[in-house]
């Protein structure tokens, strides 16, 4: 089966997630679709597997144009997708999950289904107990179940979205060897969606690289990793020179901390941050960098080790106590976590600053008006916060931060902001730094991290590596970080 994507375009609002993409997948070959977060990989694969229609462009199977209304349509045409978080029903057994979506009459033939399940699993070298509940399986086993199910329903092209996140090395080995066998012996087409360069090098024969919704490269493997990294992250500008600023006393001290992120555990993390320092936290989505920020804010428990702020352990302290110690945390979900949908700016300031039982409305409105002028927010004290634009919401969030801060913990502080707002936000943050605060921030944008950080902590597969010599790197620093994020050690 030969599958071709022709001029696929998909936009979300102003964002062109896919911009006239044309890719071709031949029978029996293993492809990689590479790109950093937001490059448009997932969108393209959702279009190919029938979850979303493209705005324009066509999908061709063996030269015939096909359109998919639903993922079931795509599977009938032989295209199956394995999601990063396997799309199964956790509260059903393996056998029930396998039977769901099979074409049969009212009364399922459990015995026949069980035999089919076991036969397909054996063919792939997987072992699956039909009576186990799916929620007691590991991610790796759930992937195996999904692959078995898709194959039994006649998938000829298998899309795997980040399949190696959260599975063991042994499961990865089993998965890769069965995928290779499927391609070589049965003529299956495999598409691996990934940003892990090692996986791509180990499995794939051809690579498509996306950046910013555009196809920027098509290479046959083996291709030097350096070249792929350059394609993925682009040629970024040299690191701007930084004005010298003095570092003060130690503010944050992290001693061999272990903490559990969504899928993995980050172990043995140690870090010392001094006043006037900016630390960038880099890593793929969900590698633990956001969890580390939350842990420093006392919002997430740590497994072992300790976190000291101004020499005091934060164990058992609430965020409110830390706030009084000069710590502030700003989440990336501005309206979800940072601001309160439905309250006005004045109400936000009253909530953040006023203590006591009665709200001093006059003072709150005056404070809001002062901050609006000072931070150049486009809005009035009585504007409901959700009516502001993203940039103005971010300004509000920064305006709400108390004055005498020691430690700022920021999750993707410029998410969704345009260039001007981004520059403004950093101007404010660096002013805080010059006043003696230490800043820790996460960002999916490596250029932002390289530009503003004094040191960078790279999170990858449960390890956190500190990069200190950004200025002395001979090569492009963003490229070096890209490699670390992709799992290549120093």
């Amino acid at each position: 089966m030969h599958v071709e994507l022709r001029d696929i375009t998909k936009t979300f609002g102003n964002l062109r997630a896919n911009d006239a993409l044309s890719l071709s997948f031949a029978e029996g070959r293993i492809y990689a679709l590479l790109g950093e977060n937001g490059a448009g990989k997932s969108t393209l694969m959702k279009i190919l597997s029938g979850y979303q229609p493209p705005d324009s462009g066509h999908i061709l199977i063996d030269g015939q144009v096909v359109t998919f209304e639903t993922p079931a349509d795509a599977l009938r045409c032989g295209i199956g997708m394995l999601h990063q978080d396997p799309l199964d029903v956790p509260n059903l057994t393996v056998l029930d999950n396998f039977m769901l979506g099979r074409h049969e009459g009212l009364l399922p033939k459990r015995k026949a289904a069980r035999e089919a399940l076991e036969a397909h699993a054996a063919r792939l070298g997987f072992h699956l107990d039909p009576f186990r509940y799916v929620d007691s399986l590991t991610i790796g086993e759930r992937q195996q179940l999904e692959i078995v199910r898709l194959l039994s329903l006649g998938a000829r092209l298998l899309i795997l979205d980040e399949p190696t996140t959260g599975i063991s090395a042994e499961q990865k080995h089993t998965l890769f060897s069965s995928l290779k066998r499927l391609a070589a012996q049965e003529g299956m087409t495999i598409i691996l969606v990934s940003h892990k360069l090692e996986d791509v090098a180990a499995l794939c024969e051809e690579v498509y690289v996306l950046r910013g919704g555009k196809l920027v490269g098509h290479r046959l493997m083996p291709t030097p990793i350096d070249e792929l990294v350059t394609l993925m992250f682009g040629q970024s500008l040299p690191r701007p020179s930084r004005g010298a600023h003095s570092l003060g006393e130690e503010i944050l001290c992290v001693e061999s901390v272990s903490l559990t992120a969504r899928r993995l555990t980050v172990r043995d993390l140690s870090l010392s941050v001094r006043s006037g320092e900016v630390i960038g936290l880099a890593g793929l989505d969900g590698s633990g960098q956001s969890d580390f920020l939350r842990a420093c804010a006392g919002l997430q428990p740590i497994n072992s080790g300790q976190i000291l702020i101004n020499g005091v352990s934060i164990r058992g302290k609430s965020y409110a106590e830390l706030l009084r110690m000069g710590v502030a945390y700003a989440p990336s979900g501005r309206l979800e976590e940072g601001l309160i949908d439905g309250l006005t700016l004045a109400e936000h300031f009253a909530l953040a600053r006023d203590s006591g039982i009665w709200i001093k409305w006059r003072e709150a409105v005056a404070l809001a008006a002062r901050q609006i002028a000072h931070y150049n927010i486009r809005g009035a004290p009585h504007s409901p916060v959700q009516t502001l634009s993203g940039g103005n919401q971010q300004r509000t969030l920064i305006a709400l931060l108390p004055d005498n801060l020691r430690l700022l913990l920021l999750e993707d502080p410029t998410r969704g902001l345009d260039v001007e707002s981004t520059a403004w936000v950093w101007q404010q943050l660096l002013a805080r730094r010059d006043a003696g605060a230490a800043i820790l921030f996460t960002s999916p944008d490596l250029d932002e991290i390289v530009t503003y950080s004094d040191r960078v902590l790279v999170f990858c597969e449960g390890r956190a590596t500190l990069v200190t010599d950004l200025d002395n790197l001979t090569r492009n620093p963003a490229e070096r970080l890209g490699e670390l994020i992709g799992g290549r050690s120093l």
């Binding site: 993922p71 079931a72 059903l92 399922p108 009576f131 186990r132």
Partner: protein, 326 residues
Amino acid sequence: MDDVLVRTLADIVKVGAPIVLAAIGETLTERGGVVNLALDGSLVLSALAAFVVGTSTSSVIVGTLAGISVGSLIALIVAACSIELRLSQVAVGFVLTLLCRDLALFLGIPYRNAQVFPTTFLPIPVLKDIPVIGAIFFNQDLFTYLSFIAVAVAWWWLFRTKAGLTLRAVGERPQAAFARGVNVNRIRYLYTALGGSLVGLGGAAYTLGVLPTWSDTGIAGNGWIALAIVIFGGWHPLRVAFGVYLVAGLRTIVTSIQAQVPPQVVELLNALPWLLMLLTLFLVSGPYLDRLMKVLPPRLHPPIRTLLRARPPSALGTVFEQEGRS
């Protein structure tokens, strides 16, 4: 077994029938991820509709159909408000339940204790002659038989058919069901309407079977009991039926002894079912179930887990939206 006990048990089964029907209906609805909180008001309004139509046509069948129509119509309003308008199922259901109850009380004024609908017992030949069992289960009216059938068919449908598996998947993880080619919202409409018709049938069972007349009291409140029993029953038809008979049984006992005991005891006994339910929920949701599972062989896990489940369907009360489409 003595006659009094057999008669009491037969009575419990009969009195429990409307609640069994309503609770089984709600079980099916909630298994698909929709919570029909309008159940109580729906029960009262469909009871009135069944009574009015039943007495004016002198037909149990036509009256029952009227009750079923009202019940499914109200359920469809809940489903449509959730699926089409994305309103909160809880909010819509809550308002509807109050509205329907008050509407029924208002419209029912001319029919208050007006007459008694003639119920017909339908003893089942041969089966009714089985000692004890026959007298309890097979010498009943139409609605009681229907309640038995509802329990058995609901269990079989949920756990033995492909359609039941699909329904459970829709209530647990609609995205996964959708990926397997299921039209999630159509399934939700279907089972909400089906559940609503069973609630309507339960309403008809009151005014055409158990009471069998229209009265302001005696119906309202039972819908809430049915809702509570669905939770206690872990969304499992057999456990739900057991819960209903437990409550109905204690009520019957209380009614028969209330003349002889102080009122405090009566009230305590009335509260007993709820305490038992809390205790059961505590036992099945605590660590005890996990410990039990560790001892048992894996082959027995599916039926045990299904029977002792305490967790609601994961997608209960949520709206399903297909991403990337509007």
